[in-house]
Symmetry: C2
Subunit: 478 residues, 2 copies
């Protein structure tokens, strides 16, 4: 915030006050575009100079921000660390994963249209490039022959692998299409990565919190998990990771370095470099799940962890489920020296991917419409994230902490100790609101005082009301 | 064969001899339709009576068969048991599965267009309902909104589960759509079935020979396998199965009761009943892979093993990969009481299926074109099977035994002891012919003197030549 030294025109004050009021009542919300200077001047019958003056004042106060050529936008509240979730105390020893019985209940609710969708981390229909995908489907089905209904055997369609390899350049990864194996989404890729490096009984390091799908997978493969805390700023706690590697026979480590689910944070580049060094020192394979890498809110994509790996230490996994569309089921894995092992594993598990899906994604990536689509998606997601975050901070009881994601579309909320998020989520579901309780994100079923909120859908009247209901439910527990 | 008592008109003899010669040189092959009586009379300038007489003679001799309203067809040679593959001696004890290093080499070769496709068990392009599928794709993509690009979460699209449940009636299975979980093909279904019943270290009974994908899966899950022989007539040897259940702690048993891959045989109904009784007695879960059930050559579909199960002992798995198109990746599982376990496993592994694929298969099943398509497919496959079988028996050295499948599209060939099918398959691949060696179908890497031939493509000039080359390669080993 600039220091204000000159005296302020009272007219500017007055108009700025009116704008601030509209923001405080929620007419304009974090990330929203404000009326243009011209519109403000016309509608409120003030001079253009006054309108500009009012906006400058609000900019000085940190309430709005000017964006090049686009006008003024409501700025998200400045993040104070005491509103961010705290570090989860690292567990001392590897544990067998305990699973919450309510997983299925929560998952089932996520696809019901009459439930407010704060549960599943999926983009809402409006974000999907539906008409573009439709036209690509038509043209693929018209132009490909019977081959589109035959098996697309591992490693998957060559044209698709070429496009995946091209796009990975932006993540700092240079690979040939021959090093890519196409998977049925990121979960399939992570499954192949873990199976190719670990055997039942091995210890893997997992983040805490982490996506419950990863925990279920680790459990199903009979592995033991050692939890390493993830910070609201900076991603996984590298000190804790080093400690885990030092004190336990860790075989592999599953990380989401960019826009961590559920924390939203990113591991800074110097720390990414250090993690790769640790992997080398302790001979641990890092499995990188970069599912959200393309969904950055800042100016550019953070590099993948794999970008810092020169020694076959990182198996990179990704997917177009979040960036393009979940229903396509197209992801990838860069198995490095484990290429043949992973390919044979794919033969022995899901065998092949849906061929038309592979062709459609290849065509979409090739036509170049993907970047335009992603630019729009990032803007929408950033706005939804900000607005839902602000609404929670405004409505929820004192002591609520909310993550401040740098990308992706989920928020991690932490309530005071003693809060029971499993009870909270069941109460919420009774009121047709879906959220995911923190225990599902913890190998030891800890994190009971936290929960995840998906920002895949906009903050409309219904979800605004839902946050009010959630806030009252939360307050009733304190 | 009827006994011939009356004296034979020498004209009939002469014409019959000419037809037989055309069959012996391969102009007309097993399953082919012969010229009509009218055409024969016109082209060979004989009376209609003579033409009818000649065909009757050939019918009496078992060379041709009359089909109602369709004319005369070349009848496959009568199967003599000494030309059928023998029973694989059952192994005494559970083994860890050994895998052949050449799996990847063989699998890679199967999708190459310049290789004669006796390797992979896939239908050739001509068999696929390409234009029908194309039009369904267009209409699905036109009519469904953004929902087709969202996750289709387990248990999968309801409309599809309804159609699957309807079609299962033909297999003798009555289930509600709520009991069906959609999978990504049969392998995904079998994976879910095995994972939901076994833990690493458990013993499962597998057929010998059996599809190598099942063996790879069992290996990857850290299970021990006990081999039970499959007979060329009658499917799995039930005595050996009972013995395995009696003497070993068998947890589950994976069977292909209908048109076994690679043997092509079917378990008779009374034996199916007995297997279910054994499962109950020894508390073994049977995992039924009914992938080929719709591809019968006879008058009707054999019932599934599941049809005889009233007590939740059989987990039934299937897929439209062979009956409709491999690239769709749509299968199913009936998990019975393990429903929630299987659903959660699906969340933890491949998560969801390609949504558009599910919609397309649902629409195809609903429009009713499937039965017409399947009728044609069965005819084509039956003919290809017969012709390739006859060509092998004609060209291969003395002592070659070939299965006589009742459905599906693979043949199992057994050579005299000492034959090395791995060497044979590598030699064949050098000559651009793909076959799968027997060792891949054996948990203990036995069955070295056998190999599998796929009949998914027609016996054309190229594949006719290929059989000649294979026959010489085989002879050179004896």
């Amino acid at each position: 915030m600039k220091q204000v030294t000159h005296s302020i025109d009272p007219k500017y004050q007055q108009i700025a006050g009116k704008v601030e009021e509209l923001i405080s009542v929620g007419t304009f919300r974090a990330g929203d575009r404000l009326p243009s200077v011209r519109a403000l001047s016309r509608d409120w019958r003030v001079s253009v100079t006054t309108a500009v003056g009012a906006y400058s004042l609000l900019e000085d106060r940190g309430v709005v921000e000017a964006r090049n050529r686009s006008g003024y936008f409501v700025r998200p509240k400045v993040i104070t660390p005491d509103r961010l979730p705290r570090k989860n105390p690292a567990k001392g020893a590897p544990v067998d994963i305990s699973s919450a019985g309510i997983t299925e209940l929560i998952m089932d609710s996520t696809s019901s249209p009459d439930v407010v969708p704060f549960g599943a981390a999926v983009p809402c229909d409006d974000i999907l490039p539906t008409s573009k995908l439709m036209s690509i489907y038509h043209s693929v089905v018209r132009s490909e022959g019977a081959s589109m209904f035959q098996y697309s055997m591992p490693p998957g369609l060559k044209e698709l692998r070429i496009e995946i390899a091209k796009r990975l350049l932006e993540a700092g990864i240079g690979v040939s299409p021959e090093e890519v194996i196409v998977s049925s989404g990121a979960m399939d890729a992570v499954l192949l990565a873990v199976k190719s490096t670990c055997e039942a009984g091995d210890v893997v390091a997992v983040e805490s919190p982490t996506y419950f799908g990863i925990l279920n997978l680790v459990k199903e493969l009979g592995l033991k998990a050692i939890e390493v805390p993830v910070l609201a700023e900076g991603g996984v706690c590298v000190e804790a990771l080093a400690e885990a590697f030092e004190n336990h026979p860790v075989k592999a480590c599953i990380l989401q370095p960019n826009f961590h689910n559920p924390m939203g944070s990113v591991i800074p580049n110097d720390q990414k470099r250090r993690i790769v060094q640790l992997a080398e020192k302790y001979q641990v394979t890092i499995i990188e799940d970069d599912l959200y890498g393309d969904l950055y809110f800042g100016p550019k994509r953070p590099p993948a962890l794999k970008a810092f790996d020169t020694d076959d230490l990182v198996i990179h996994c990704g997917s177009y489920s979040k960036a393009l569309a979940p229903g396509l089921r197209v992801g990838w894995i860069l198995p490095g020296s484990r290429y043949h092992r992973v390919k044979n594993l794919k033969y022995a598990t899901s065998l092949a991917n849906a061929s038309v899906s592979e062709m459609v994604v290849a065509a979409f990536l090739k036509t170049g419409g993907v970047d335009r689509h992603l630019r729009r998606t990032r803007q929408v997601l950033a706005r939804q994230n900000l607005q839902i975050r602000e609404a929670i901070l405004r409505e929820f009881p004192e002591g609520t902490r909310v993550s401040s994601p740098e990308g992706g579309f989920v928020l991690w909320c932490e309530m005071p100790d003693g809060f029971d998020s499993e009870k909270f989520s069941i109460d919420a579901l009774k009121r047709k609101i879906s959220i995911v309780p923190g225990t599902l994100f913890s190998a030891s079923r800890g994190l009971r005082n936290s929960f995840r909120i998906s920002c895949g859908s906009p903050l409309d009247d219904r979800s605004q009301r839902a946050i009010g209901i959630l806030a009252r439910l939360a307050a009733s527990q304190l």
